[in-house]
Symmetry: C2
Subunit: 517 residues, 2 copies
């Protein structure tokens, strides 16, 4: 038994049994060890951004980490953008980054780089494994960090720590302590605020956006006249018919400021204080009123469901039936295929227990409003603003939940970042319907250019903000990677294709040729 | 005039007039400034690995830096793997990484990360711009660093440094000092070694691999019986008919050790001491004999051509005519399309002044041997082992040299890393013929698995090392990005397609279905 075997065994002991991988020479002993563990499911990504994005999507749905296998500094670097998203979503994840044998580092071989320096900004926790003898303890520590922070734990595995002999005594599974309960004094403080007559809002994220926690939050809100919001970006929201719908803090600074202007006290439940995504000359960075009181009731690693249940108890209200909202019952859209027509059709025909992955950026803005009474579903979105997570996240969610349909709402510009993930969807025959909103532009940036006062684009701006010339043919790219695909030019065609895709299993891509007027 | 305008002007003053870009919101003022400078050529990449790889290929051919435009930490992260290659190639490059406005950093907005920590491992030089007032000086310093180290200079541009008003007095162009001449004592030392009867080899890299420098090195070698080698990986080699061919240090450890075993003194000319790419149990990391004397005559930033010319003068030999090598004159290959058949056909029909970009990994191993007497050409290869540079590097080289044909020899596994670069080739109508060696495997890793003693692959190993199931269709992917493409199943078909591609302008991709026996 070598260090790599020990690493695999320790992961499996802790229920970590999916490995998203893109290996290289320095990880060959790890690959050989994985090959001796058929109970570990190895999923190959043809680029590391696929690997890390899939691990994020997986853990958001599985509520436990997958392990990634990355090849030295450059392999980690390729995966960093989606680790950034995972870090912002507080997704449990264990990365194993291979490195040169300890004694070879001093030779500065071509693939040598400072892996710690690369890993630190996008990980909550980083450790270099000293040798085969510490592998098991290091994996346990990484697992504990990933689950309790929760977040991204990165282990650096020198090749000799993988190939050297390791202790054969198996490691016992770590028993995780219960998540810390909310502080009683803080709870009393928030209760006092709720009763003070001040205008209070609860800002939710993390596990506070699961159905039960939302129900508790809703009881508080209804009893005390408080508002509920979700963060602008969240790892996962349980929503749809029979669940409590909460609006998100708007992305646009002016809209967010307006929304928050009437709040005297903002209570953070698994959320962080809302700030502008970007600074703009003359606009505020903090979004709450200057005199708004901000109370952090519970953080991402705390027992958020418990916190909200306790709060509901404190304010002594009974269980209330969820508010009813209207189900959109307009006729099906016809003619031009607009963004909103797509969102409407997706919401209307959304299958029970679907998982919606949203990286549509500017295109699916109406989806949340239109799907409040859609079939119950999970909603996963890009969390850190690092585009290129949609296709991989959908793949990872589908690996975690093979019996649920995954609907991937994908902007074309962002989709190109990790387009290779379509191959993984084909390789694993994942049940993912990808809807590409083909607007052939970095539409959000065209808006931002107008924000900085540029309304007439010259050649350079046009060539940096439009992605036409040549137009991308998503159906050809998808087929080139083994994913069946078709193109919709009208709303009717889109409806027909989308319903057809729901009626079959396996990956399917619809290129929606949007024409927004 | 704001900081962004000043930045553009200062770049243009120094002849930096190509910007490979993938912008985001924090760079909008930079984009707006670029839009006011039509003399700056902006080339969009749909992923940052394309941007940095293209900037590397551009600078290797242009002998001056391009500027890149990258969006915050995640945008930089996506470009790091190819910056790693550029750093190893000592390629001059200036990266401009946008960041949040200075005063917004403390708010830890979603896209915030430690950009310095990410940049440092893959840059020779990093600086954060303080404000609009220092932009010009900072750009001059970055240009100087990029040209003199030479290497990758990364500038972090806070959004407010871009949008705030800047001084309007234009900056004068920096006059670069001549590259440092080789130390006379060191030169005498090497001369003494060459005359000592010891077996001496010159190990060349960087500008020591340009035609004139190679001719000088050859005069030394012929006069003194010394050997010449190139590093295993080099940024650019001028080679082909009428030029001096030098073998490269083999990649495989045992072969490299055998080659170097007869050398008593190794003289480094722009090269670093050869070490194993990876450590293997029981194999050496340093490749020279333990008692081999290693003399660093000149480094990447020194005047390497001058150093070799001086050495040739010191050993007092006249100009010799280059050694003649045989031109392969076998008939054209027929039947099965093997790796070697492809290399043979490419070498045989290589156009005058072609630029060959090689990321074929295991597939084009015979190309160098077969092309010694091919038409004079430049040969660019992956330098840092971070795969995914081939398609972008070819794009960048074609931007630098619009009148020269670029031949991109591309492995399929590596090609998938930055496949998006095909779109940039189409967008810019670059004259690149891409040959994809489609072997549907990480072939090098299958060999490495055998090296660690695994000959029978189980399901996990097969699924991590083979990239069939589903097979990639490169012609479909290329067409999906606007690049014409065709598939060759036999040697005759390949020859016909390759010659046809040479006879037209613009990007073309040939998927070579290799069947190696």
């Amino acid at each position: 038994m070598n260090g790599a075997d020990r690493l695999c065994d320790t992961l499996l002991t802790h229920g970590v049994d999916v490995c998203f991988a893109n290996p290289g020479t320095s990880e060959m002993h790890f690959v050989a060890a994985l090959d001796r563990k058929p109970e570990m499911r190895c999923v190959l990504g043809l680029f590391e951004g696929v690997v890390t994005g899939a691990a994020d999507g997986y853990a958001r749905m599985a509520d436990k980490p997958a392990v990634t296998l990355l090849h030295l500094g450059p392999g980690l670097a390729n995966g960093l953008a989606n680790l950034h998203n995972a870090r912002r979503a507080c997704t449990p994840m264990i990365n194993v980054v291979g490195d040169h044998a300890t004694y070879h580092l001093e030779n500065d071989a071509p693939l040598t780089s400072n892996i710690e320096s690369l890993a630190q900004p996008m990980s909550q926790w980083v450790r270099r494994i000293k040798g085969a003898g510490t592998v098991a303890a290091d994996v346990v520590a990484a697992y504990e960090a990933a689950m309790t922070l929760p977040g991204v734990a990165t282990l650096i595995l020198p090749a000799d720590a993988a190939w050297n002999p390791a202790d054969v005594v198996p490691t016992e599974a770590l028993r995780l302590p219960p998540r810390p309960a909310v502080d009683a004094a803080l709870l009393a403080e928030v209760t006092k605020e709720l009763r003070s007559g001040r205008r209070v809002a609860l800002l939710l994220s993390g596990r506070a956006l699961r159905a039960n926690a939302l129900a508790a939050a809703d009881r508080v809100a209804q009893a005390m006249g408080a508002r509920l919001w979700a963060q602008t970006s969240n790892g996962r929201i349980e929503r749809g018919s029979g669940r409590i719908a909460v609006p998100k803090i708007p992305y646009v600074v002016d809209m967010a400021v307006a929304a928050l202007s009437e709040i005297d006290t903002l209570v953070l439940v698994g959320a962080v204080e809302p700030v502008a995504f970007f600074a703009y000359p003359g606009k505020p960075c903090r979004l709450v009123r200057e005199d708004c009181r901000v109370i952090a009731l519970a953080g991402a690693g705390d027992d958020l469901e418990g916190a909200l249940a306790s709060l509901a108890d404190e304010v002594r209200v009974g269980s209330e039936s969820p508010r009813q909202r209207l189900k959109p019952d307009e006729g099906l859209p016809i003619g031009d295929l607009t963004d909103d027509a797509i969102s409407y059709v997706v919401a209307r025909f959304l299958p029970e227990s679907a998982i919606v992955c949203d990286e549509a950026i500017t295109s699916a803005r109406q989806f949340l409003a239109l799907s409040e009474e859609a079939a119950p579903h999970d909603y996963l979105q890009i969390t850190g603003g690092a585009i290129g997570i949609g296709i991989p996240m959908a793949a990872g969610a589908a690996v975690a939940c093979p019996d649920r349909k995954v609907i991937s709402l994908q902007a074309d510009g962002s989709g190109m970042y990790t387009v290779q993930g379509l191959w993984t969807q084909a390789r694993e025959n994942l049940d993912v319907v990808t809807v590409v909103f083909s607007n052939r532009a970095y539409a959000i940036l065209q808006g931002e250019m107008r924000n900085v006062g540029v309304n007439e684009f010259g050649r350079n701006a046009r060539r940096m903000l439009a992605i036409d010339e040549p137009a991308l043919d998503w159906t050809a790219m998808a087929r080139g990677m083994g994913v069946e695909a078709a193109r919709a030019d009208t709303a009717e065609e889109f409806t027909r294709l989308f319903r057809g895709a729901l009626g079959r299993r396996g990956p399917f891509l619809i290129e929606a040729m949007v024409s927004n007027s």
